[in-house]
């Protein structure tokens, strides 16, 4: 069976923020689905990790939550990006890009 990877430690928060930035307000299930889809179903989001991550972002003031109605008229808790959250996305994105670039250089430059 094709075993899916768990989300790497520390990257889930950025994925959540990025998801909210591109999709706008979204409920927990929607966020999980989107992350899984974006990864081409390579990643599996564990709810035992997702909820604490959402809570942590909310406690830190990067996202806010509100109860609302979903597309199919169900009650759901929607998360949206705050102003601080928006700043955080661009900051972390830049950082992440830099990290991966450095890492890529190591990995490719190792043999030459």
């Amino acid at each position: 069976m094709n075993r899916k990877n768990d989300v790497w430690q520390g990257t889930l928060a950025l994925m959540v923020l990025k998801t909210l930035e591109s999709l706008g307000p979204q409920h927990g299930y929607g966020i999980a689905r989107r992350i899984e889809q974006t990864s081409g179903d390579q990643l599996a989001v564990n709810y035992g990790t997702l909820y604490p991550a959402l809570l942590k972002l909310e406690q830190e003031g990067f996202i806010a939550s509100e109860w609302g109605l979903s597309d199919n008229n169900r009650k759901a808790k929607f998360y949206s990006l705050t102003r601080a959250g928006r700043k955080q996305v661009s900051k972390e994105t830049a950082q992440w890009a830099q990290t991966t670039e450095i890492l890529a250089r190591f990995l490719t430059g190792g043999n030459s």
């Binding site: 999980a32 689905r33 035992g48 909820y51 809570l55 942590k56 406690q59 830190e60 003031g61």
Partner: protein
């Protein structure tokens, strides 16, 4: 910053969480439903859609658990659980809880109260800017055993002109003053000061100015007064420039010092510039000035000492007649103010610390016993999954809570003690009025509580956590006793040892006090009143003028009904103001490297000796026929006789003061008085009659009278007499000799009572410990005792056996305590009088007391156990 915000949100949601819980459940539920709905949308049948969603979500309880852990602070929740649990335990055993809190409150209270004194007297900076740079400069003459002498004006000005280590080197001297021209004349404590006196202290006046450079010369009439005197004079806003009549002359107030300022003594109310002309500035005979200075920034006391010693030896070479053998010593002001009491205060703190330690041992003991009986409960908790760390943590929470409760009680006690200390204003505690529960003191109490909580809680907690589950559950709660008993026995020995140290210290102090109070001071104090009358020198400039007040006053007082005797003397017993003069005893030879003969000079009237019952060893008292014109006479004390006329009858021999050619014939030899510290006999003394003294400046006298009843009843009549002679004469230092004597021993009494009562409490604690451990051990063995009794073992043998094992612990404690006490008591050697710090009688008495009282404490529970009916005992579980 973000983390901080998150932390507070978590901490806050640890408290109220009902709504958050349902919110979480609703969110999980709604996401679950969304998942199913989407599955159906993708074409799954409802049952399969639900099954897939369940698999995807995992165990909802474990999801919730990780959600909860993030929502709040797990540690905080655990703490609140532990707290709830601890309070429930306290409720179940209120007796134990109360005993623990009270014990700790007493211990922490005593330590906190004493620490408040340490804080005010020894830690807090002195109330002068950069006070650590203030030093006293004392003249020393090591060959004569003098290490703390005032100095002469000539020496001071030389020091002042040549020393470069000081920003300012100032001097001051006592200058008693009468303030007249006001409704009630006042006797004030005044100071003659050099012009730079206030500059050296670095304190600015509250009003007006302090003295200007060059103001310390004759003819200057400026004075600076204390805030207290300003208030006493009516708090006039326009006081600056007003005149005061001081010692008969007029002075102009130029400044008022701020409230709370005092230097050099608390009582000082008036500061006057030194009125010295060039001749007096060069005078090197009399040592009457106290010198202090402010060190330059960067100058150390050592470097300043070296510089001052060089200057002193130069002066010594230049003026060998007056300065031969004199050098200097620098002492920091703090050392000066607290040097004497520091060991005493630390001894108090040490004793209180030992007491607290005993309290801890006692509680540890109780907790161990409780932990043993709780071992079943704890075993069940741990078999339900509580980790070892968790159990230690819970038990420590309990002991810390007890300790904090004790700390709160201790702070209350300390608050009461601080109020008492401030009110009593013991002269021997520097800054007694500044003692308070400052932040440092409160912090000390809290730290004390926490430390104590860990100290008495850790051993029982670890003990409980180490418990072997199986054996406890099997043995029905009695599985670990041998270990507990061993540990408890050790604690008992420790307690006995601590009690021994405290009892030995207390015993030594109490014995010293007893020795001191039973020492004959050389006079009889009952029904004697003493009061000081200061005649202004300007007005009463000769013996004859002074006699015009003293003679009729004494005659009048003697004629009052009920007055047995009356007289006057310049310095009454235990007064401590000795004026030492160089004397020349006739035909007494001393070699060049011996110090010049000296004697303390006192002027007295006929009848003074009889009034205070100072006995004559030989010869006669002064009499009315010893007038200015008759043969010049003197009396000496036995110390003078022994030193200068050893083995010879001194009556009829002659003595004179150096630089005078007035030979005085010795007519009487008095017994020696005790010094102000009763432990010492006084030095050689020379008494001269008021009518013949060659010191016209000695214009004061203490009037003493012995009466049939309360001598204070005569005070008003005496005041009236004095007013009749001169309405501007104030009386001061009105004290009965009983009060003087009691004051002389007050410090000794206080510390003996304090340490003694601490030792008493320690004894009780130790006995409780001994009693508790033995009754517990006996109770644990009730069954065994029953069996042995039933098998016919004689009760006496069982008693002996129990007492024997208990006594071994006590004796071990005594041996350790005695060894510790032998090391410790030398720290209080300076507080002892007439008792050696390792006094064998005290040590043996303490050992006997401990053994006897612990035998009683152990016999009580043993007897109770042996009285039990064997049939009942055997069936007990």
């Amino acid at each position: 910053m973000r983390r901080f915000r998150a932390f507070w949100l978590r901490a806050a949601s640890s408290v109220g969480r009902k709504s958050a819980e349902s919110d979480m459940a609703a969110e999980i539920e709604s996401n679950f439903e969304l998942h199913i709905a989407e599955n159906i949308q993708r074409g799954m049948d409802p049952a399969a859609a639900r099954r897939e969603a369940v698999l995807r979500f995992g165990n909802p309880e474990s999801v919730k658990e990780s959600y909860r852990d993030r929502r709040s602070l797990p540690a905080l929740q655990m703490l609140s659980q532990d707290l709830t649990y601890a309070f429930r335990t306290f409720q179940k055993s209120p007796g134990f809880t109360l005993a623990a809190v009270v014990t700790l409150a007493l211990g922490i209270g005593a330590n906190t109260a004493i620490f408040s004194v340490v804080d005010a007297a020894l830690i807090r900076p002195l109330p002068y800017p950069s006070a650590d740079r203030l030093v006293n400069v004392w003249a020393t003459a090591s060959r004569r055993g003098i290490d703390h002498s005032q100095t002469s004006a000539g020496d001071y000005f030389d020091w002042h002109d040549h020393a470069s280590s000081f920003e300012a080197l100032a001097s001051h001297a006592s200058w008693p003053m009468n303030l007249t021209g006001v409704a009630d004349p006042l006797h004030l404590s005044g100071r003659l000061v050099s012009a730079n006196f206030f500059d050296a202290l670095g304190v600015a006046p509250e009003r007006g100015r302090t003295f200007l450079r060059g103001e310390d010369k004759p003819g200057n009439d400026s004075v600076v007064i204390s805030h207290r005197l300003w208030v006493q004079l009516g708090s006039a806003g326009d006081i600056i420039g007003k005149t005061l009549v001081l010692n008969g002359g007029t002075s102009v107030v130029v400044g008022v010092m701020p409230a709370g300022f005092h230097y050099p003594i608390r009582e000082t109310d008036v500061w006057v510039p030194l009125p010295l002309d060039a001749k007096n500035r060069a005078f090197r005979e009399g040592h009457w000035m106290t010198v202090f200075g402010r060190l330059r920034a960067g100058a150390s006391i050592e470097s300043a000492t070296r510089e001052m010693q060089v200057i002193a030896s130069r002066i010594e070479r230049e003026y060998p007649a007056t300065n031969s053998g004199w050098s200097v010593r620098l002492v920091s002001l703090r050392e000066e103010l607290t040097g004497n009491v520091r060991p005493v205060i630390w001894a108090f703190q040490g004793a209180a610390g030992l007491l607290l330690l005993m309290g801890c041992v006692n509680l540890a003991n109780l907790l161990l016993a409780r932990a043993a009986s709780r071992s079943r409960e704890l075993a069940i908790r741990s078999s339900l999954g509580a980790g070892r760390g968790r159990i230690v943590r819970q038990l420590l929470t309990e002991s810390l809570l007890l300790a904090l409760g004790g700390g709160a009680g201790g702070l209350l006690l300390a608050y009461a003690a601080v109020k008492a200390i401030r009110a009593s204003d013991f002269g021997f505690i520097p800054n007694a009025t500044e003692v308070s529960l400052s932040a440092a003191v409160v912090l000390f109490a809290v730290a004390c509580s926490l430390l104590v909580g860990v100290l008495f809680g850790l051993a029982p907690a670890l003990q409980a956590a180490r418990t072997d589950l199986q054996s406890v559950l099997k043995a029905g709660g009695r599985g670990t006793q041998s270990g507990v008993e061993r540990r408890r026995n050790l604690l008992v020995s420790a307690e006995v040892a601590l009690a021994f140290v405290l009892l030995a210290g207390g015993g030594l102090l109490v014995r010293s006090l007893w020795q001191m109070t039973s020492t004959d001071p050389g006079f009889r104090s009952a029904n004697v009143l003493s009061m000081k009358l200061m005649l202004p020198r300007s007005q009463y400039s000769s013996n004859l003028k002074q006699a015009a007040v003293f003679d009729p006053l004494l005659a009048k007082v003697r004629s009052m009904p009920g007055v047995r005797a009356a007289g006057a003397v310049s310095d009454p017993p235990l007064n401590g103001n000795d004026m030492t003069f160089k004397v020349v005893p006739e035909n007494f030879q001393w070699s060049a490297n011996e110090p010049h003969p000296e004697a303390v000079l006192r002027a007295a009237t006929p009848g003074y000796l009889a009034t205070v019952d100072l006995r004559l060893a030989a010869g006669r008292d002064f009499a009315d026929f010893d007038t200015a014109q008759s043969t010049q006479v003197a009396m000496i004390n036995e110390a003078t006789a022994k030193r200068y006329w050893p083995g010879v009858d001194p009556i009829g021999r002659r003595i004179r003061i150096v630089d005078e050619d007035r030979w005085m014939t010795i007519v009487g030899v008095t017994r020696n008085l005790r010094k102000r510290v009763l432990s010492e006999e006084e030095a050689p003394v020379l008494y001269v009659p008021y009518t013949q003294k060659s010191q016209p400046w000695l214009s004061w006298a203490s009037l003493v009278l012995r009466t049939d009843g309360d001598p204070r009843a005569y005070l008003n009549a005496i005041r009236a007499e004095i007013r009749g002679l001169d309405r501007n004469l104030p009386l001061s230092d009105i004290e009965t000799l009983d009060e003087v004597l009691s004051k002389a021993t007050a410090f000794h009494r206080l510390r003996a009572v304090l340490i003694g009562s601490i030792a008493g409490v320690a004894l009780v604690m130790a006995l409780l410990g001994v009693y508790g451990v033995l009754s517990w051990a006996v109770a644990q063995r009730t069954q065994e005792i029953g069996i042995r009794l039933a098998l016919g073992a004689p009760a006496g043998r069982l008693t002996r056996q129990f007492l024997g094992t208990g006594l071994v612990r006590v004796v071990a404690g005594i041996l350790v305590g005695a060894a510790a006490a032998l090391g410790v008591t030398r720290w209080i050697e300076t507080m002892l009088f007439g008792v050696a710090p390792r006094d064998p009688v005290t040590f043996l008495a303490v050992a006997a007391l401990l053994i006897a009282s612990s035998v009683v404490a152990m016999w009580l529970p043993t007897r109770r156990a042996l009285r039990i009916d064997p049939t009942i005992a055997i069936r007990m579980d």
